[in-house]
Assembly symmetry: C2
Homo-oligomer: 323 residues x 2
């Protein structure tokens, strides 16, 4: 069970290791959105995404014998790097199961961080959970799930603690907080932290069109999966359905989901390049796209958008800049 | 006369307005450089460069009657935006004299910040100092010089105060601090701040090939100008010669200059994109290029490189990414 005490304990374990990322803004973004826009720049976190928070939290909470045996994770790339980097810093062996069509940069980085990378075919019938479970059993590894894992959610919640502090520094008492949402680990962690520390800030999950399982599930009051393709432009946040552990938290604490188009995501990436000097990957720009282009679905004078990651291949980024 | 008291006074005036930019790092950059590399991300400052520090410092130190009459500045673009933004926030009228061939983004942003932009022809015989002086006299404006201005140097020095604090947080007692150097305002300000607050940190100016007036002047012990072309890839830092006020400070406090090629600058921009998720403009990437590719000219286990700005046009950035 993840609660504010677990998040604060994760923050204590993270001190001096996890980076406190800045909350950025630009009058040019405010003008587009028609309200004040603040961007929580998690793309500046170690490994280029918030996932290092959860990876460090999970590994630092393991008992010593489990750490010595090693860990395994499955991920399209950001959780992979987060766990691999945490494992490297702690001297823990790590196996990472990744889809063969993940961005080349994410696979290369995970390998460079010392992890043993096992590729699988997402379009075929291979199942990453089954592959992971089989290797974990065979080698005696501890599985670190990407979002349905209490210690991972607690780690992502440390981002929410920072948002609460930084909003107070900016004089923001009430605002919507848009969070890029895949399985819901960051969304749940941030929502729990804000519930305790900044109850005037309400989390709104942001998702890309065609992968709006969380928005539909929140509207329906029960978990509903995606039925379309399994891969797309916003690779980092394309999960099949809300998590078992995360969804009840989202259902209790979040406002309605906001769904954006891939073109809006591209425009948000260009705006972040131009106005914030930040590199945001497609899945990490979904919340900013919602802030800039879905203002009619938002309440209040200020909005805070997480920029959850920046691991985008150079060719893709250059194409986005070309418009 | 700029001294540590003037820098600390500028920091007091900047509180709550100027952003404290993060000091970032990546193990991948350390590997390239063969030592620990830290990047002071001034591209994340308001207006996308450190110049807002100097602009705010200068305008906030003006007596009320001078502020009401307005200010004038000449600049290839970053000082323009820094002064324009400070003027807008204070409600001060601003005229900015800019070269016609400055990056389109910098001209557009300066206008969007409410300044009255006057363009001149850099390749012709027009002289920005003379144009600026004539308009200043005609309209009763206060001239805010880009670097040979004590209050501007004091403002840039606030970046050095932050570097001193952040180096201490990282446990760095001794290091070389590479600063992208045009007229020397940032270099002088940072050097003065570090002299007082972190004497184990030594500033090294970094410049692009063909515009290495500061490196040659430091070696000669007197101010020597550039004789080649007046424009180039690293547009932000292409000044004709070290400043009259800045050079004696550099001469007293800095180590030898480091000179990099445009190709090294491009590689540094790609590295910052990939490893730090930062957008750095050519002139702002000169120090990182020196840190990554001129290690044999540096001493010590750690180097701190300023990333002084990020105002690069999308087409140029896309070309750089393409390699």
């Amino acid at each position: 069970m993840t609660d504010i005490a677990a998040i604060e304990a994760a923050a204590a374990r993270a001190a001096g290791v996890v980076r406190r990322t800045p909350l950025l803004s630009s009058p040019f973004l405010d003008e587009i959105a028609g309200r004040r826009v603040f961007v929580k720049a998690e793309c500046l976190q170690h490994t280029g995404s918030f996932k290092f928070r959860g990876g460090w939290s999970a590994l630092s909470s393991l008992p010593e014998p489990a750490r010595a045996s090693g860990v395994i994770a499955y991920s399209s790339g950001n959780h992979a790097q987060g766990v691999a980097c945490a494992a490297k810093l702690m001297g823990v062996p790590a196996v990472i199961v990744m889809p063969r069509d993940a961005p080349a940069l994410k696979i290369a980085n995970t390998r460079a961080l010392g992890a043993d990378v096992v590729l699988y075919d997402r379009a075929g019938n291979e199942n990453r959970e089954e592959i992971g479970a089989a290797i974990a059993a065979e080698r005696g590894l501890t599985l670190v799930r990407p979002y349905d894992e209490p210690m991972v959610i607690a780690g992502q919640g440390t981002c929410g603690l920072e948002i609460a502090e930084q909003a107070a520094e900016e004089g923001i008492d009430t605002a919507e907080v848009l969070v890029c949402c895949g399985g819901g680990g960051l969304t749940a962690g941030v929502a729990l932290a804000l519930e305790a520390k900044a109850p005037g800030l309400r989390v709104r999950p942001a998702e890309p069109e065609g992968f709006d399982d969380t928005a539909r599930s929140l509207a329906a009051g029960e978990r509903i999966g995606n039925t379309g393709p399994q891969s797309g432009f916003c690779d980092a946040i394309l999960t099949p359905a809300p998590g078992e552990i995360t969804f009840p938290i989202l259902s209790r604490l979040c406002g309605p989901g906001v769904v954006v188009t891939d073109d809006e995501v591209r425009a948000a990436m260009r705006a972040a390049f131009l106005r914030l000097k930040l590199v945001i990957e497609p899945g990490g720009a979904v919340a900013l796209a919602a802030a800039l282009f879905h203002g009619d679905e938002l309440d209040g004078d200020a909005v805070i958008a997480t920029a959850s990651g920046g691991n985008v291949d150079a060719e893709v980024f250059a194409e986005v800049l070309a418009g």
